[in-house]
Symmetry: C2
Amino acid sequence: MPWKDGTGPPWLHGKFKGCGYRMTIPRQGILDVLNETADHLSAEDIYHKVHGAYPSIGLTTVYRTLELLVHTGLVYRFDFGDGRARYELAEGPKSIGHHHHLVCTGCGRIIDYTDFIEEEIELLKQTEKGLTKKYKFRVTNHLIQFYGLCEACQGTG
Amino acid sequence: MPWKDGTGPPWLHGKFKGCGYRMTIPRQGILDVLNETADHLSAEDIYHKVHGAYPSIGLTTVYRTLELLVHTGLVYRFDFGDGRARYELAEGPKSIGHHHHLVCTGCGRIIDYTDFIEEEIELLKQTEKGLTKKYKFRVTNHLIQFYGLCEACQGTG
DNA sequence: ATTTATATTGATAATGATTATCATTTCCAT
DNA sequence: ATGGAAATGATAATCATTATCAATATAAAT
């Protein structure tokens, strides 16, 4: 599928219409599902939830729409190592809702954290600037995850 | 498979023997491959390379060994979004070789960078300390990737 | 309103990386 | 040597994701 926004900017820019895409029922439904949850949903999770409201929507469309949303920067795709991708509505790195993840390698639990972000954002901004200069790399997004053991898993040797 | 090092420390600690595992030909061969390259190899890449030296080694063993290596912390597994996992010999975050990745979402190219790490390490150390205190989460590793467009892909709208 | 070109959809099948199974072989401790 | 756990490798199974393709819906043009 040819992307219409090849040079488009990262977050929340020119949504669908601005990019030449149509805002359809399935797409709206999928965005609604993403907007109504704080969880980290897989494609199939989303499919099941959307299906409740619009039973005619197929899994293929969910995957396609997510691909589109990720590409346009409206949605983030994460990999926590359990073999299926997770999706979250994107909020720019400066936004209130922006968070990073703690991934428990024991039980797979994901903890969002938004604390300690202040200094991180500042450092990341500088780092991105340096990377842009040195590698001519235009950064549109970043991924930060901490791996380790959550409280419950530290006891179980 | 039951892990023998349930409470074991993260990096390069107590390698195989210390963990109760045997250092076998296949395992040595896989470690050699990982040690001799700076690339980001997939399981199948590794399989092919190991096969050159030891044709009897099967793909299953490669996967199993990588799983083991990742679990013991000797190897990192990365996901760059192209559907297959990549593996790198682990070096502790303080080590010289430690690097983060720039992932080009245009062509899939991966750029390692080790610059600007100094301040990052310092900040990460503080962040990890805070996370440990607040969430009782014992951090053993972190993942930082920047996504964007490499120089070559910025022209092609 | 009708036509026309294009976008979007959904059912199905295909792909491909990773895992499970299981019989066989290797290795260590006794 | 020998008993038993650990490790291996061939094969089949799993399962998330993609490709295919005919059918439908939409926007723009007439």
